[in-house]
Symmetry: D2
Subunit: 421 residues, 4 copies
């Protein structure tokens, strides 16, 4: 089994490699290829990857290359984990929206649109080249904004599934709080990527008893603190929103923090410099502690599980992924991409039916889906007016004057990444 | 034909009576009853109504009463135009939301929710008493928020249609700008009450040529100025939003104005005092000029047209009303109430099919519909938590901390009108 | 020695009485009179006051009366501690300024101006009646805003000194942190009432070594947490600002809290209800624990010290009070009232010289002094324009549109307390 | 008479040269030297300057040079009109403060501080070199922020006077409205540079009748519109504030505009490109119309008048300049620089006495003077803490969290211009 990681020079990669090593019974990789244009980083990360495999006695090979076609040739699965423009572009995404009093964030709001515009054309180009090199390979997209990118991939006819670590993170955390095995924890997790709510936490299986009320009663404070959301919000709603809903439910508070604190991009850039320095140490043969603070926890478990389901040949496995709606949420178009529990096997992912989504969540999901449709249109076809419309449609912008100004700022700060601008 | 006006002591009533007099060929009223608990106002308004009928040679009678059952007995149609709590409650609706930086307005946002909570139980009680007194009467609701109130009436099984003067206002204004007869102007008007966009202006019939691009090119400046919206917004979108969309597209600008200007309620209260003083003048036998500035232009034309269609016995007439969605906007529940062109006859109103709503508008319509469902739930069943949820669902609130505070403020300012609070 | 407390029915009074009892060697009161128009409260508080004196073996008498002239007749000192409009007015002071995004507070900003306008005429009337009943009595003003009220009293020729517990609070807290006797701690405390900075903390006497740098190094975190100010602010400036400077240095943060939290007035009103219920218990003969959370800590120590200095006949004592500037801060008018260390004896209070105030503080002091002059002018002479000018002059308002709106709101919410409005 | 213009390549220069030509009887220049490091611009501007002199028959020579020492050698007066960092730096000054909700402006607020930090060291270096080349020359500073720059020059012992065109602009405008000769109009103009109020408009001489009340009654609307300030502000105060007070009195409104409109720097940069293209036209021999929209109207009249007074040998002339306070405003330090009417002759400028400044203005002047002192300290001595303190002292910042963030932004955006950063 050959697996290729595009953006393999990312500092995330050792997390992934560590998972491949630990979970080799689930996903028996024989050849792992890391593809990245940044040869220096690739060297550092590839070296550590080989040492991790070696230390854990994994028999597979690890190779690195800057040549996508070569790296993807004959692959069974290709993981996409790239960041167009790097931390510098992210730093800008987190900054200029503040000029209009809007949150600066790289996966939602005006900053999220900027990232989508930069990323979609690059990902589509990569996917096309992968298709030529490995026509049957599955594409697993971990590149943000996952919802929009996955919709772009599916719309272009690729065999693609979008993946995020929010759901697996909740599963592991809740299992720890409940003192049970994560495999026993089934989430009623639904919405769009980065716009989800855990509505039930079932034990033993998808029809098991719902322990979410007990979880909130006993650990609501800790859960809320972790999400940096007010505890009464969880208690009043009886659900656990994803961390990213903080940008909606506490928007102005976040803006106030962002105006006076260091940007997340700066923190991450600092961490990345430290991590790369560590990776270069020939004595290091496991993922360092610091990597946990980089984000992306359990990403490797999620990726291994998904790849195993897509490639493994056994029966379908249930997993939270991003895929076509197909009537699951009846108020959305069939070709909207949602994030939900799906049955995944060699033929792809099909969402499981979900109880009707309450209006409090459905209203927001519908509006953000409309934004995502306009964002994708702008990413595919370009043009100032399309950017303006996507911004006006976003619930965290919504006002004419801000949409106009943010359009100008987005274009000014991203011109080098937008072929049409 | 007997027609009863509940809230007949309103200063609006002479506008309505003037229309009944002018349009008596369309709607041959023989008995007009004005019902109102405020005997003083009723006396003043009733006197003027009689003088208007007399001056125009209308043969119908005008009676006034404080007794709803008597006034409604045997009526063919009952118009509801009331304001629970009067201008004082409205003045509060326009003020306390500002404490959270949210718009203060009586039909949308937190103030609109307050009005819905005050109004729905009163209207349902009146409708129930009307049903006993006149089981076959049509109820025409002009009471705001019209969308929520109409949904409440239909949900309780009443023969009801919701009416607003926004669409007829655009029809008349566009006809004037085009130099043509209003009857020739057909609007592609769609959305929710106070959340609509004119997407096409067709001449001659629903399939006539669309002159909206020409209208915007030639008169876009005047139309935008009238709506107090930036002209480039109209040009970029190619549609004409309703005036009420200013609370969304220019929210912060409106809040800045409201913080420093007199409230609309104060202006209206002043106007009402002036109007009532005029109405008492026995020499006055027509609606005064000042009434035009009170809002509600063409309300009587719209009401006469709708009543004539419901009661007239001819074929269906096409008119913009508020009624059940029934699949017209497929992304909304069938029992959502939308505002759109409908075929109206003695059996009620059925929406005409409309072209797919663009995501830029559909996203907002879906979200506000979700809010309206939660608002109606709060109005019918009460409880602090339901109020909180409706506020959190509203796109002009949306944040946890504001929803909490606004819930407290709403309850503090409306306790006397909320039986459960 | 006869001492009269105007506003003696306040829930604060037991704090004062407890101090009189404990410190009877410093201030040998023979007759204590509590004056208050609220007979019910006065009864409860007066009963507890007698029981506190009895328990501690204090030989003085405690009487209560609603008759100011009788209560003040022959008094040696009269303490003013009243609140015109009660907690209800305060609650409004804390609320309506938020409509303009301005802090809601009863001693500064627009709310502080409202309180000044309500209070100054009442205090001047009381002082005039005291002068007639006891021409030689000293008036000790603890009524907020102390700076403006003291300036009004001095301007009308009264023998008055203004008192606040901020300085004594810092002295006690610093002494505790340093593990030393409060009497050893001398503060370089300077500015205006509620706008002061501790610039040095000297041990042993006004020329002792300055331990503030050490105090900040060792306890800066605790001091900052107590003031709810960011620690780096203290470190960067090397001074300790009064708690009230939080309304300046963290204005927007306070507004955000006020918009979503309960008002201080509500908390205090709840506490007052509890306290009064306790005071009615005939078994209670000491000040209850809860009173400490009411604010006003060490008020009695400060009041006893000041009264003893004014009446005691010994040499002058150095104490922080509010009195005429007389060139102490050379950039302020001589008749501005400042808060600073003063030599106090039977002839009154004379400020000690202070090192030049740094521009960072002097600029703010000068601007607030200008506001206070305009506020006093508005309080004495009335008129919408004077209120507007005071608001425009206040650094927490400063903008035209807000000054206009806040003028209207101030008048609307305080009309019953403003004879001229 | 030799006159040297440093920054002579500015697009402003033709305005100045036109004035020199028209007013040659007042100021008989024989040699005009334009000094600028930008040879291209200097060539264009110098050519036009020669053509203007030629067309108007002015006998003086115009030379251009990049060598300051040569250009200044033997000069009688040196005008400073430079912009360190050009329009690009200004564009940044107008942008990054918005991230904290603070006005972006190059002469006040955080942007004004940035400009002061960039400019003061450069101007002091130039002045030192001028002193060596022409020890007796007068330095006329037109470089912003004029108040801080002039204080820096005077503090370093230079023969310097600061000049701004606000006062002469009002004089000309009022004269036009009154239909009288500007020379007849005497202003009671007082405050700091860009923080002034016209308190009286006297006809015929400094003791003539005050026609400001009449001017406001008859032309208040036009004056307010021109300043973009609300007319009632002028009526209530009975004074005319400088245009720059809009950044104080309508701060939030300006921020809202800046967030959604093009920056002034962008407009000016566009205009400069157009102007330079015009200047290159050998047929052009007068200042083009467009230059009037560049700002700086009547700058040449003011400069000619000032230079004539300093160099002319006649008795003193009264003119509005920036110079040492020397007790004129008794609440400011003697060495603060104020902007006021002064008697100017060959020995320099001495302020005329002014009536006491009302507290409403004095409070703001005192606070901004404190800021200017801290700003100058930061400009001369550098260091993050000094920048922080200046920002905390500024009335348009004032809050801790913003001061911290703005310090970081200021340093990040100006590092190349700050030797110590």
């Amino acid at each position: 089994m050959k697996l290729t990681v595009v953006g393999g020079g990312s500092t995330y990669t050792p997390e992934l490699v560590d998972g491949f090593a630990r979970l080799r019974d689930t996903l028996p990789i024989t050849e792992l290829v890391l593809v990245d244009p940044a040869a220096d980083r690739l060297e550092l990360v590839g070296g550590l990857a080989r040492r991790i495999f070696a230390r854990q006695g994994h028999p597979g090979t690890v190779t690195v290359t800057g040549d996508l076609a070569a790296g993807a040739a004959g692959a069974d699965a290709v993981l996409l984990q790239l960041r167009v423009g790097g931390q510098a572009a992210r730093q800008r995404d987190e900054t200029w929206p503040l000029e209009c009093g809007c949150v600066g964030q790289e996966t939602t709001g005006a900053g999220g649109l900027a990232k989508a515009l930069r990323t979609v054309p690059v990902v589509l180009d990569i996917a096309e080249r992968v298709r030529r090199a490995a026509p049957d390979a599955w594409i697993i997209d971990f590149t943000n904004p996952v919802g929009i990118v996955t919709r772009a991939l599916l719309g272009a006819g690729h065999r693609a599934v979008g993946l995020c670590n929010v759901a697996i993170g909740f599963q592991r955390k809740f299992a720890a709080l409940l003192g049970t095995d994560p495999a026993e924890v089934h989430l009623d997790h639904v919405g769009l990527n980065h716009l989800t709510w855990e509505r039930a936490v079932r034990l033993g299986g998808p029809d098991g008893p719902d322990v979410l009320p007990r979880l909130l009663a006993e650990h609501g404070g800790a859960i809320a603190a972790d999400l940096r959301l007010p505890r009464p919000l969880l208690d009043r709603l009886g659900v656990v929103p994803s961390y990213y809903l903080r940008y909606f439910y506490a928007h102005d508070e976040v803006v106030a923090e962002q105006r006076t604190g260091p940007s997340r991009a700066e923190e991450v850039a600092r961490m990345e410099r430290e991590l790369l320095a560590m990776y270069g140490d020939p004595a290091l043969d496991e993922k360092p502690e610091l990597l946990a603070r980089r984000g992306g926890a359990f990403y490797s478990e999620a990726a291994v599980g998904l790849a195993a389901a897509l490639l493994g040949g056994g029966g379908p496995r249930v997993q939270v992924v991003n895929t076509y709606n197909r009537g699951t949420l009846p108020f959305l178009p069939d070709d909207a991409v949602i994030e939900t529990q799906a049955a995944v096997d060699g033929s792809g992912a099909v969402p499981l039916a979900v109880p009707a989504l309450e209006p409090l969540y459905a209203g927001l999901v519908a509006r953000v889906t409309a934004y995502e449709e306009l964002a994708l249109d702008a990413a595919l076809r370009g043009g100032r007016d399309r950017v303006f419309r996507a911004l006006l449609a976003h619930p965290l912008v919504g006002q004419y004057a801000y949409a106009e100004t943010l359009t100008d700022l987005l274009l000014a700060h991203n011109r080098e990444h937008l072929a049409w601008a």
